[in-house]
């Protein structure tokens, strides 16, 4: 409960939070999968309890997102799926484009690479993201799926810009490799499936 909050403050918080629900939920879905709704509730509660300390109300959307991301990270650390083993050298050299061309999973296709991507539904993308270590998943989702600038992500996570850029670089390569491994493990490479 927001101790000593005025009716106006409560209404202001509700209005700000309501306007951000879609964005918060979409981000949480990509970061924690099925636990998104619980994490959004948790983040809203934390935000509500600390709303009085937020003096720049114009910064409320970014502030809410920071609380959500931290809640997702806490949840991810506590209950993460078995993350993929990361061989950074192997990941660095991996090219999904070449892997698809070399393995040629759909020999009758004249748009092999696009066909590969089209095998992935939104649930598959979420599953692939959840297989990535959290330090790579978070910047990838915030930059490439939620449209944040790398500088904003650095501020939001409280790490140097160089750290975000390095994690983003590895995260993207790792995402490519994990997509391939996931496709192999889940029969997405069979002709006629999906």
């Amino acid at each position: 409960m927001l101790i000593g909050a005025t009716v106006d403050e409560k209404e202001e918080f509700r209005a700000i939070a309501s306007a951000q629900l879609n964005r918060l939920y979409a981000t949480a879905r990509r970061l924690v999968g099925d636990e998104a709704e619980d994490v959004v509730q948790e983040a809203l509660m934390k935000a509500y309890q600390n709303f009085g300390q937020l003096h720049d109300r114009g910064a409320a959307p970014a502030w809410l997102m920071r609380i959500l991301v931290n809640s997702c990270r806490d949840r991810g650390r506590a209950r993460s799926r078995e993350p993929v083993e990361v061989d950074l050298d192997e990941v660095e050299e991996f090219s999904l484009y070449r892997k698809i061309a070399y393995e040629d999973p759909f020999p009758y296709s004249d748009s092999l690479h696009l066909d590969f991507l089209q095998r992935f539904g939104k649930e598959d993308v979420t599953e692939v993201l959840l297989l990535l270590p959290e330090i790579y998943r978070v910047p990838l989702v915030l930059v490439h799926m939620q449209g944040y600038a790398t500088k904003e992500v650095a501020k939001l996570l409280g790490v140097p810009l160089g750290t975000v850029l390095a994690r983003l670089h590895r995260g993207r390569k790792l995402f490519e490799k994990t997509m391939w491994d996931y496709a192999e493990a889940n029969d997405l490479l069979k002709e006629g499936v999906r």
């Binding site: 409960m1 927001l2 409560k10 918080f13 509700r14 939070a17 309501s18 629900l21 879609n22 939920y25 979409a26 879905r29 990509r30 709704e37 959004v40 509730q41 809203l44 509660m45 509500y48 660095e92 050299e93 090219s95 999904l96 484009y97 070449r98 061309a101 690479h113 696009l114 991507l117 992935f120 939104k122 993308v125 990838l140 989702v141 490439h144 799926m145 939620q146 449209g147 790398t150 850029l165 670089h169 993207r172 390569k173 490519e176």
Partner: protein, 74 residues
Amino acid sequence: MITCSDAVRQLWDYLDGAVEESDRRAIEEHLEVCQRCCGEVEFSNELRAFLTTHAFEDLPGDAKVRLTSFLDEM
């Protein structure tokens, strides 16, 4: 002239405009003569668009009702 491996390693960063000027020139010189890496660039762009199109997921109606009630009860 850089190798394909060097170019591939930097492609996403190149597309972000996040490489040094000298690296950008080296990648572009490589792309002028390497058709395979041009395919890599095209695919990297498709993959970026793919991530964007898989970003937004509508808040399901029942979850929206629950979260709105949660806010109302605060």
